[in-house]
């Protein structure tokens, strides 16, 4: 019985007297497509912080393929294969799209310390970077500075950096955040095309994306897991609907489930 890609058990985090995450347990098999939803203030951001290592948890454990991550900081977790993207893009804005991805490819391959060979001549690295660029559909923007491309495409570069690091577990923190409605399509396509062997935990508000993407959904409310199930189960649940602000929630879920 092989170890799950990501296993979190009993994660708890307190800020002073406030319990932000209580006894959270989560299992992702390799290739999982798992979504995490919940109203604002539910503790999703804290949970992502705990999983990625930016925040230290008070109780519980995290393991990637059986390896305990408790002592590892964010950079070490990245090296172990647990990579996250950010809700607010954290990119290298004056550099080109290709350079952004190249940086991650180069570091992952241990090549960033090479002082002598021109970066352009490192064939393997360039090819890999180009492959990621193409996979995300960013070809036309390859040599353009990130600062100059559309915000939706910048969000793709954010994912590209993560992919370049060859993650085994990927935490996508609200990849659609801030994207104008017209550009969401490219994001959807990119997420569909993510490598099938990566386990992905998607944190999202946009139910359209959750429906299309996830085979399993966990609902987080006030720091605790309310339920876990398939998208249809979750969206049909009366409890979940009432939690999402009563009428507004019903309207949101009602229309989404009508697309079944």
């Amino acid at each position: 019985m092989s170890a799950p890609a990501l296993e979190a058990k009993g994660l708890t985090k307190r800020f002073g007297g406030l319990v932000v995450n209580r006894d959270i347990s989560l299992v992702l098999a390799p290739g999982a497509r798992h979504a995490l939803i919940g109203p604002n203030g539910a503790g999703k951001t804290t949970l992502v912080g705990i999983l990625s290592g930016a925040i230290r948890h008070d109780a519980g454990s995290i393991a990637i393929f059986g390896h305990d991550l408790t002592k590892d900081g964010p950079a070490q977790r990245t090296k172990r294969g647990l990579v996250r993207t950010f809700q607010v893009s954290s990119l290298f804005v004056q550099l080109s799209v290709l350079e952004n991805i190249f940086l991650a490819v180069s570091e992952h391959a241990g090549a960033s310390g090479d002082l002598w060979r021109p970066a352009g001549k490192r064939r393997a690295l360039i090819e890999r970077a180009n492959a990621v660029v193409d996979q995300l559909g960013l070809g036309p923007d390859r040599h353009r500075r990130v600062a100059e491309i559309a915000y939706g495409r910048q969000r793709l570069v954010e994912i590209g950096i993560a992919l370049a690091l060859e993650p085994k577990v990927l935490l996508l923190d609200e990849p659609a955040a801030g994207i104008p409605a017209g550009e969401v399509g490219i994001l959807l396509r990119a997420i569909e095309n993510l490598p099938p062997d990566i386990a992905i935990l998607l944190i999202e508000h946009d139910m359209q994306i959750v429906r299309l993407f996830a085979s399993e959904v966990t609902v987080l409310v006030q720091g605790e897991i309310l339920m876990t199930g398939t998208p249809s189960q979750v969206m049909a649940s009366a409890e979940v609907q009432s939690v999402y602000l009563g009428n507004t929630g019903t309207a949101r879920f009602g229309s989404a489930s009508n697309h079944a």
Binding site: P74, L115, R117, L125
Partner: protein
Amino acid sequence: MLEPVWWILAVLVYFIFPKHLAIASSILIMAMFAMSFDVVLGFAGILTLGNAVFFGVGAYAAAWIAIGGWHEAITGAFAAGVGSALLAGALGPFVLRLTGLPLIMVTLGIGVIFYEAANKTAWLTGGDDGLSNIPLAPLLGWFRWSLSGGTAYLYALCWLGVLFLLSRRIMASPFGVALQGIRENADRMRLIGTPVLRYLVVSYVISAFIAGAAGALWTQTNAFVGLGVFSLDTALDGLVMLALGGIGGLYGGLIGAPVYMLVKHFSQEWNPYYWMFLIGGLLIVVVRVGRGGIMGIFRRLLSRRPVAS
């Protein structure tokens, strides 16, 4: 494509202005100094006002080496550069943890300390009088150091060329790209796993070597070194020259240094202080117009021309 122009012009200066080679050498040396700033500021994004320390250490080291009996210039300058680089290697791991104003403060403070130290140890540095009569053997055993400065000019030009090519090579490597990544977003680089502090120290060391070699050349071509090499003025000069020319891309210092020094030189004939007006004004304009400096202005002008299809 316009690149070779600078170098061709530099060689032509030797033939066209044989009587002005002394100032021309100074320009080349300051260009090298400004280039050292570019490595650390333009690529790595380290805002330091302290590179004069490395310039000064290199300058005095070259003097001591020559006075101490080793008269070969090229190795002397190289050794001086290494001396500065070692100093940078020692200071870097502490200083480079800082950013913003604290970093500026610390680098300024180090500069002041070195200046005062040099001032107070007259037995070592000659104090106010400096060190003169620095004996140097003919270059490569053949080229004598003439009063007209011809040898000195070509010597400095060769050094500049070599260091320029080396710097360009390093900045084009994966390491150079990583440095730019650190400049843009150090936190993300850390997350990716880059040893940020270590890379910053390496860039600091490289920059110090270049500044130190420039200092050594200063001593060698002037056969003199004084406290001025450590002064705040020198540090600011380097930064201003780079800013005028354009930061990043390595050519900024090469363009800014001649502009700065020539403005200074010619306006001093009207009035010793007009040049500060001009340079100050230029600097304000450059910042308002955009940080590309003179190079940036050229680029914008060139890109306005219709592109042949």
